[in-house]
Symmetry: C4
Subunit: 248 residues, 4 copies
């Protein structure tokens, strides 16, 4: 086995100028957005990536069928405009593996003619956020105004921030190859899977890519999550009152 | 030293269509079954596998002789029907090593004409199980009915389960090579070596492979273990009563 | 990606007989000195080093632009006398990576004609130090008298000390290549970034290299740090008195 | 840098039929014996081994001179009878490194005509031992009687013991190359550096190798250690009495 194995399900007509990465991370924000887009667009799975830098395991599906842990490449084309997606259930096991995988992702991007990568993720702030911003970073200066025009914020800049893992390396290593990189990070607590933050991120991404999809299912998940949080908060307040009356 | 070294003790007539893997894991269920089969059938040791992905140590036997840590391949043939076994005392040290070793196991399987792998293991549930089921997973859809007919359960499917280590990768990487993979996992607490769960797993495996052996020694170990557990429970209850009378 | 990638920003006239290493370490003493020298001299950035042995991340600057984690080589030349600097934000992730990177640093040093390396660091003593010494080690015996003449102390010798990471390996592996190595370690508590210790180290280094720079900004930072420490100590003493009066 | 670098200080006349390994381990028993033999015989240092599998550091000696962490090969010849020693301050950082280094040690052994390896170590029992035995293991059955005749015990055999690290692998991997391996392990608490256990081990090793040296310095260290232990025990008993009288 090579350290990374890439298998394409078809060969022809699979290039695209844009790659959207939504691997798992803080609040699963990036993954929620990418998975939602793939589902709404009905994007086609065109490739898969397995690697000894992923955990050594298989996933058992609802039918009892095993699937080797991997990342997947999807593609969507409409009116001559095409886009690629990089999604999956895992990032690398090890620091070195992150570099090996990111270089390989960029090899694939170059082969398929990608000129720009959108790396999607969450920006953990350690508390619930009423109106999550979409914090941003770019790997080339000229990209900033475009992101700001689309509603991306750069208020995080200057706080000596780091972007760790696939999203960070796609920008950092992509720059060396001349591939534009835009990282969009939905503000999120970091404690929960956060469809509300994902919904906001999707709005900005849609403006940037001119890819429009229905938000309903994402917003529904966001509402469900809001209700779960509200119930937890209520229960905690109730317990707080009880304790007070007991003391009193 | 190569990362994995395979040494065959003989060359001729060592192929077989079936490989049964029983490396150590949860409750040592898979190892108990495979070791029992090898012992009862009088299977012949035909190869050994050492690797720098195993722990860096030797085992000292009853004679004071050292043996490099390794995995072993056994083979049994009767009435023109042959079967291979993969057993040993260790799995890999590291995530990467699991992939390297599993690929090598599959190289050996392909060389020896193996068409199907049975990967045996335990399924930890965190409590003592009165009637352990044999939970199952397969790497190709058409295998499922056969496993169910033999008494394997798929009730675990749909719980987003993972199968970690050699068993999982033999199925996941085996699928890529067109080798059928069936994983049988005896339900077990995960706290003890579990010959009772192994006994149940052996019954299902025998139906699938048409390999019949005497279960007596396995059942005897299961009874011994039941008695040990009963004594521990008794002792705990006695202590419970004492504490109660003391309080009272 | 190679394990280490070295990129020079220009090719011509970049050699120098001396390399000063100031990577992060105890009290950031070495980093403070090297960064101060680069700033005061107005040294020129001539190269950068990225590696999969660094953390897998990018740094976001004040403009929101990402930069792949790397180490950097600076060079200064004045009156025909030139010096190189090796600085950056990280050392290796792993023990093996330290060796791989140090060998590569020495490859660069050899290519650029370096005859002597100054490795700068801190020497942690676990308590605040009023008058921090500059403890020293050399990789060739004949270097010792020169270091002592410049005010470097060898009082640490004989305590079975170790020098870990880039500084240690530049001396140890440099010796094999015939490159002189002098390690200067500012005594420091190990609890704080320590510009005072750095100031003392710079004095010794200036005598050794005949590179003179203004110390003002470093001394200002040292004074600021002294005041912060004094305030913390005052606050602690005040709390101590309060507790006493409460008890009384 | 290669993963392992071996440097010989001279080329000619450096072979020997026997290699004695005394790297650090439990109670430093093996290291004490090998270092004592080298010192008493006045053995000559003929080679050194550095590796990225050792810790990334240098040792600072009493003169303030740095030395790259390494292992060393010594050789002694008298009356046409020669012996090699493998000693040093470290074993590998990682499980994989143990294998890589042990294979390299055996490459050296083969090149120098070694037919037998003595691997020296400690056997930790978790309590102070009045009369430490020399527990043994061999990698070929025919070696056992010779070891027993010299006073080595095999009472540890049959307890499913493991020998971990360089000593274990020299036997395990040496067997594959037809090199005889005898592991002698001085019984020791595992809590202290144990010259008494080393003294006993040296007696058995001397009978096996017909290498006789003065034991005085080793026995002196053993007596010193006994006195230290006695004082600690006295202090503990005194404290015990005090506590009793306090309670009374």
């Amino acid at each position: 086995m090579e350290h990374v194995t890439v298998t394409f399900l078809r060969d022809d007509n699979i290039d695209a100028p844009v790659l959207i990465e939504g691997l798992p991370g803080i609040g699963h924000v990036g993954k929620l957005v990418a998975d939602h887009l793939i589902h709404e667009l009905g994007a086609e799975k065109i490739g898969k990536i397995s690697s000894l830098h992923f955990p050594p395991q298989v996933i058992v599906d609802e039918q009892g069928i095993t699937h080797l842990v991997n990342n997947e490449i999807y593609r969507h084309e409409k009116d001559g405009k095409s886009v690629l997606f990089l999604v999956g259930d895992f990032q690398s096991n090890s620091p070195e593996g992150h570099y090996v995988l990111a270089e390989r992702y960029l090899d694939i991007a170059e082969e398929l003619g990608v000129k720009r990568v959108y790396a999607l993720g969450g920006y953990g702030v350690g508390r619930l956020v009423e109106n999550p911003r979409v914090l941003s970073a770019v790997n080339m200066k000229h990209l900033r105004s475009e992101v700001e025009a689309a509603g991306g914020s750069f208020e995080n800049a200057g706080s000596s921030g780091m972007i760790v893992g696939a999203s960070g390396l796609l920008l950092g290593l992509g720059e060396e190859r001349g591939i534009e990189g835009i990282c969009l990070m939905g503000e999120t607590s970091g404690y929960i899977v956060d469809p509300k933050s994902a919904d906001g991120l999707l709005t900005v991404l849609s403006r940037l890519t001119a890819i429009e999809v229905d938000h309903t299912s994402l917003q529904q998940r966001a509402e469900d999550m809001e209700q779960i949080i509200a119930k937890i908060q209520e229960a905690e307040e109730a317990r707080g009152r009880e304790e007070l009356s007991y003391i009193g």
